[in-house]
Amino acid sequence: MTDTALPTTESSAPGVPLAAISVRSAGKIFTVAKGAEVQALTNIDLTVAPGEFVSLIGPSGCGKSTLLRLIADLDSATSGEILVFGKTARQARLDQEYGIAFQSAGLLPWRSVQANIELPLELHGVGKTERAARAEELIELVGLTDFRSRFPDQLSGGMQQRVAIARSLAERPKLLLMDEPFGALDEMTRERMQQELVRICSETGAAVVFVTHSIPEAVFLSDRVVVMSPRPGRIVDIVDVDLGPGTERSDSLREDGAFFAGVTAVREALHGAPVTPRGADLR
């Protein structure tokens, strides 16, 4: 678990553990109708260390989801370089280096909870007994033991999202990409899920890139919060949050001074108040 933030432009020297994600002056331009271009992301520099939890936060249209999609190789960057564990984003996808969860759970409605979790394993030729054993572990991890043979339409939104998280963990990825996975949940469920996620992540030791537009969520979960700004999408600040190891983060932390300090810091960065922008912004 890396608590100290890495400088954003550090290059991985031999001996230093390979960065989970290394984004260098990446940009993304979408071509829309009639050849018009939209600069979705510009000059992004970001390094995520192994086991580190990093949130991307910012208003709609700031390109936080786009950045996640570039890392996942669901879109490709128009400029710059994106390395995932030292490989190109494409190679990392082909090698199944990451697990992913989206805003909607995206479970297959004709598969039971267990079969949904087994899907990635099934696709990659893992044997039946091994699959079942792994699914069992994960079902226990996300607390759905009584629901393993239920179908998605019999589950609440929070349960579905837990299944999706279990599925993203199925292949023991060292990197988790999450695009507002709790966005559609009510506040109570959301807080409980955050706590579970932070526990699961510190138990599995996976690095996480977490897209959100909730400030408390970002602060509660993260080691570092990357604050982004729209038109064009760019990183305006990176806020270090030090709330201790994930296993010890509980509800009481939400009442803690350090938590509030983090929230204030992120809010100021978002609204462009006292904090001087640093990082990629060259205005």
Binding site: I100, F102, A105, L123, H124, F151, D153
Partner: protein
């Protein structure tokens, strides 16, 4: 079993009885429809003018004499009497069932061919967007060609086919024409079904590095089932219509379509006889749709609603 599971089980149980009650009332409503139809027929026959109703020389309501509109009782009694006066002639209803089964067999072949072809076309269109744009207009155009015009062409082409001991039979022409009607709903329905997965599911498969074929098997095929089943049912009904029409226009003997024509030709002397094969054709359509629905029951798992999250 935990409490929640038990509760879930009870809920499914009550849902099933609810569905059973719904099915029961559907049967009742169906029966009521038949009764209303029978009352309309006999009621109009009782009160309508014998010469029918004409409006500026155009007949807008039929004549009510026994030749134009035989009594329902006459139709039923005629159905249990022998087909003709020759010795050993079977009752009409037995003959109708035989002809209907004959047609059902031909229609089933047509439906199977049509469904396979339709599905393959849908696969091609899903795989290549160019194909979708190029082929779809032709599919729609194909359904505007009148069957009557098509029948002689297919019979003529089929007659030229002679491979070894295999020679083209007339029933094959009928089956081909039936398949020509059946493939269209299947192609359109299957295409919609194959394209139905959400972007999120398609992207998920991409993150798993699953190629086109694996995405097809694990995602697109199961997702297409709710669209495919009604399309297959529609295809079955179309295949029956195609068979009945094609029997008449190709001159294929032994099927229900041909029987309707034959019996109707004896209309002046024996007006009630023709209604038995007409009823047989209607029942045939229902039976074929029912058979496809039974096939659908085996795929029930894939007919689940998209989870509301």
């Amino acid at each position: 079993m935990t409490i929640t599971e038990a509760r879930g089980g009870r809920r499914t149980g009550s849902a099933e009885t609810g569905a059973g009650r719904r099915r029961g009332s559907a049967v009742l409503w169906g029966l009521l429809g038949v009764i209303v139809l029978a009352l309309l027929w006999e009621g109009y026959k009782a009160i309508g003018p014998v010469a029918g109703v004409e409006f500026f020389g155009t007949s807008i309501l039929p004549k009510t004499d026994d030749r134009s509109m035989p009594h329902l009782v006459d139709m039923l009694t005629r159905a249990v009497e022998p087909v003709n006066t020759s010795a050993g002639s079977p009752p009409v209803w037995i003959a109708v069932i035989g002809a209907a089964l004959n047609s059902l067999g031909v229609a089933a072949v047509g439906w199977a061919i049509g469904s396979v072809v339709g599905f393959l076309i849908a696969l091609l269109m899903q795989r290549l967007h160019v194909a979708e744009r190029a082929v779809l207009p032709w599919l729609i155009l194909s359904q505007t060609v009148p069957l009557i015009a098509l029948a002689p062409v297919i019979v003529a082409w089929g007659g030229k086919i002679q491979i070894g001991t295999f020679s083209w039979d007339r029933w094959m022409s009928v089956a081909v024409i039936a398949s020509y009607l059946a493939f269209f709903p299947v192609a359109v329905g299957a295409l919609r079904g194959l394209q139905s997965p959400d972007t999120i599911h398609v992207e998920l498969m991409r993150t798993y590095n699953a190629g086109w074929f694996r995405t097809l098997v694990k995602l697109r095929l199961p997702a297409s089932v709710p669209f495919l089943l009604p399309a297959l049912r529609l295809g079955a009904a179309s295949a029956i219509v195609g068979t009945v029409v094609a029997e008449v226009s190709t001159g294929y003997k032994g099927g229900i379509g041909r029987m309707i024509i034959e019996f109707a030709q004896s209309g002046t002397s024996d007006p009630a006889k023709a209604y038995a094969p007409i009823a047989g054709a209607v029942v045939l359509g229902l039976v074929s749709a029912g058979i496809v629905a039974l096939i659908g029951l085996t795929l029930k798992r894939f007919n689940r609603q998209e989870a509301a999250s």
